[in-house]
Symmetry: D2
Subunit: 330 residues, 4 copies
Amino acid sequence: MILFILRGTDTSSLKEKLESSSASFKFLNLYGKQLALAYPDSEVEGIKDDSVELMVKTKKSYVLAGNEWKKDPTLVKVKDVEVGGNKVVVAAGPCAVESEEQTLTVARAVKRAGASLLRGGAYKPRTSPYSFQGLGEEGLKILRRASEETGLPVVSEILDARDRDAFVKFADMIQIGARNSQNFTLLREAGKMGKPVLLKRGLGNTVEELIQSAEYILMEGNGNVVLCERGIRTFEKSTRFTLDLGGMVAGKLMTHLPFCADPSHPAGKRELVHSLALASVAAGADMILIEVHPKPEVALSDSEQQLTPDSFQLLMERIKALASVLGRSA
Amino acid sequence: MILFILRGTDTSSLKEKLESSSASFKFLNLYGKQLALAYPDSEVEGIKDDSVELMVKTKKSYVLAGNEWKKDPTLVKVKDVEVGGNKVVVAAGPCAVESEEQTLTVARAVKRAGASLLRGGAYKPRTSPYSFQGLGEEGLKILRRASEETGLPVVSEILDARDRDAFVKFADMIQIGARNSQNFTLLREAGKMGKPVLLKRGLGNTVEELIQSAEYILMEGNGNVVLCERGIRTFEKSTRFTLDLGGMVAGKLMTHLPFCADPSHPAGKRELVHSLALASVAAGADMILIEVHPKPEVALSDSEQQLTPDSFQLLMERIKALASVLGRSA
Amino acid sequence: MILFILRGTDTSSLKEKLESSSASFKFLNLYGKQLALAYPDSEVEGIKDDSVELMVKTKKSYVLAGNEWKKDPTLVKVKDVEVGGNKVVVAAGPCAVESEEQTLTVARAVKRAGASLLRGGAYKPRTSPYSFQGLGEEGLKILRRASEETGLPVVSEILDARDRDAFVKFADMIQIGARNSQNFTLLREAGKMGKPVLLKRGLGNTVEELIQSAEYILMEGNGNVVLCERGIRTFEKSTRFTLDLGGMVAGKLMTHLPFCADPSHPAGKRELVHSLALASVAAGADMILIEVHPKPEVALSDSEQQLTPDSFQLLMERIKALASVLGRSA
Amino acid sequence: MILFILRGTDTSSLKEKLESSSASFKFLNLYGKQLALAYPDSEVEGIKDDSVELMVKTKKSYVLAGNEWKKDPTLVKVKDVEVGGNKVVVAAGPCAVESEEQTLTVARAVKRAGASLLRGGAYKPRTSPYSFQGLGEEGLKILRRASEETGLPVVSEILDARDRDAFVKFADMIQIGARNSQNFTLLREAGKMGKPVLLKRGLGNTVEELIQSAEYILMEGNGNVVLCERGIRTFEKSTRFTLDLGGMVAGKLMTHLPFCADPSHPAGKRELVHSLALASVAAGADMILIEVHPKPEVALSDSEQQLTPDSFQLLMERIKALASVLGRSA
């Protein structure tokens, strides 16, 4: 149950009533509204208080992330870049930050081609402990410098809540990766960091579970979440993962949060990235995540699927043309 | 091993050599070329004959359907409609033929909106024997009459090789459905019918297996096969099946045959069909299959996912706009 | 709706009533009962007739194969071998019949080790048209001779309804393979052949769909169906398919039909077959299907997963010991 | 590359050589052996040092967890309970610790029935933030008290590395849950805690990835890891997850670590738990995890799948009988 609080009223008597009930509750500000979230519904229905403007019952396993109480699509601001509006936002950059030179080269190239955000991995979650694990905080600093030069806000993945301070200082958008999509500890922390979050879908998670994971972030008062479809595990072997655009389209009917699509990881081969990126935009993605490397063949991770700067520039042109016939920009 | 036969030469000595080897072989005409298909490679390599212009070894589990020996994309002609060329071909019509009136209404509407082919089920494969099983041959005749009035060639699904004659007489393109995608008996029969074939991917089949199924048709000398991605079985529950556009894009690099996408079945809900159809075109589909019903809510099958004629018309407009920025028409 | 007919009464007035309703209906004898199957329920509820002893409404998408109307487990007799009773029935034999000698060698060995049925493929469904397609009718005759010598009834897979006569003549149990699990044409034919049927689950089919496929056979008045779990398609790569024993156990609560498990195909490697066979018995399988070849390494199909006769004999001993602590025999 | 160090030799010169190479390396003690782990192989091959007894190249994406260098199965000791030996170890207890009384009741019951370990969730990872999240540290203390009374060592799941101290103090075996199976931060921490670890397979992870996750723990010098198959995500809907016993059996050939099977979670319904538990033992599981609740119907989590104490006692008897014919005890 979501209780909308009348702006400026005293909630102390409501709080008392909730405390004396057996409901769990939490007061929070979200999207400019003062709310009380109380559950289960059965314990809250009978409560009346002058501070409550409206009580909205929700029928789903998620509440704040659902669109029953909030019909308008949420715009997530990453500095001055708006995700979820008319413009299809393209975030591009290397899979992993390998060096300042590599990162700056890519950052300049993707900026020139028209990208709006710079993505890059500083802490890398790798299936094998013997794979390159990323430059860590040094990688974040390199991204920061690239951001300062190009003006592109930075998206980077956090793996450990204890790296919080470095992310608050150096990143503009916090990415929660597929392998941590149900790491509820990390989700709560991301909610508290006060930065917009890019939340990826887990390899074995349904779209509904992705939205439920977002709920953990929203409950901390952070409504700036972009959901990201990045491919799921299926039996098909010609691609690395199966990009589930149907799930994304269905998901957009379930939530007010914007959706990003990552065509690079499911493709696994750069020959497939353009087609899947265009398909993602046509399906309605609000944001696209593309891996770009100055020399993909020598990349320390995901070398098969990163685009060259030239190929990325061509893709940006195609995305812009496509967006225009869909009534959007890019 | 594919042996290209020198046009007009006598192959009797080659045939003798193959017969005296322990190879299996078959002579066939495909795409205007006279070929001998002989395998395994190891038994054929040593054979030399004046009638053989070129021997092409193939490295894959399929030969004729692969693009190692045939680089140019195959154009499949369904009467005067060409699939695999510049134009994105849209086939539309009811899931099942229910009556002459229903079928004619839809046929006229989709023709008016710009569809190129009329699709409709006369024999319906239903998971439950208690579901509507289709009108059978009467359904094919209704489709024929609708075709005669509108000029749209007819695509319809065959379930039983014994219905061969009715399909040869009334249909223009034979559909092999997902549940028969590895019914090798039916595939061979379809190969012999001399009509273009629309071959759907099985719910649990890889793209490679789809191409191998096509090989059964090509081996009968019928090269007019369109492969169709229609969604696979995965754990995701917000859609009926998972449309695997990544698989389609990867498949296009593996074969010279054109690809169709069916967004209606994986969607399972008509709200999702437009987005998935546009995504399919953006991903490079050569043909799109859309279910349209004059009154979807009373349809005898798939009532949740069929579009109204109005919605289809809007979709056609969007597909045309999209195709134009991709350098294609629709 | 299932209508139980009072034994020996005249059903002509019931038939008239059904004909004048808008219900579909079918009279059939199944498990010694005279039944009328009529649907949809809403059209039948009001019908009353003296010949009707009892009307049973069913709540599922399948009726005859469900256990709402038939609580006792069905015993399927393959000649004198009973599947679904106390004894765990083991069917063993080569993946494909390759020669009389190979088949007889295996048949004698599996008989000696304690198998109850001889399995062997005469018509082989192969993903690639270039793989060995089986000996056809000659293979069936070889199986018949092996059966005559050993006394083991024969199970073999049918691919084409047109081979009906050969199967009626030479086989004792008709197998419908995974790739034809939703080939409704073939299911109906199998129902009409009057022989017990071993129905395999499709690679991409749910257990519920498997039971619905059985319904097609039962509707033809053939109640002797054994369902077979043989592994489904998942993302896991260390086995060929994923043996879904959970699905089998859940399925046993949904139907009165017995269940077979095939550990050979999902294993894909003979090292895994023993463990999966024992697990299948422990999970409650009524029948086990094991591939055995005199020299697996030179087998023309599935060479990786077939057991040697010695390994099979050891497995039989282990199965017998296991069955005994489960209160069964083998 | 694993370098076996000659016991008691000075490794300073080896360390120097590794430092001056471009290899990454780590010295560690594992299973009573002094090792140096150095990679990539190409940078290490040329190194020679008197302290090195043997260099073992490994061909897989995991090294320490693989059985190329360590052929004997690893025995994991949880206090005086040995997992991986002759005895099939049963861990049982409530899904979640709800109260001292509930936990003690279950602990006494499962002890009486013959369980060797007490399992119970104190910190609960829940898909929805509105579900019961567990009693936290208080839950661990309750488990400790139940352990003191019954003598059963305690297994409980950790969600956050910051709860380390409580787990070191109150738990005997640390569980990493399915949702954190690739939370590499948590895996490394678990490696450092010096307690045996029960590592569950992620819903969307392959068996190979599970073993790679174990590698993260072993690299910290903690070799006491039990891998746990608990069901994967597939399209099948009659069970909650698909228990992949084939994956477990294949996994046992890839690693020296013991395997646990959890039949409760994939079953999702208590009617299926017995059959799947028996199947797991027959397939070769070294440990079984069973959820038991005094009154499952009022449980705060997983109420559908927990067994009653009586049902658990019956299961223990069946497991013991089964283990005995497999040459094991339970």
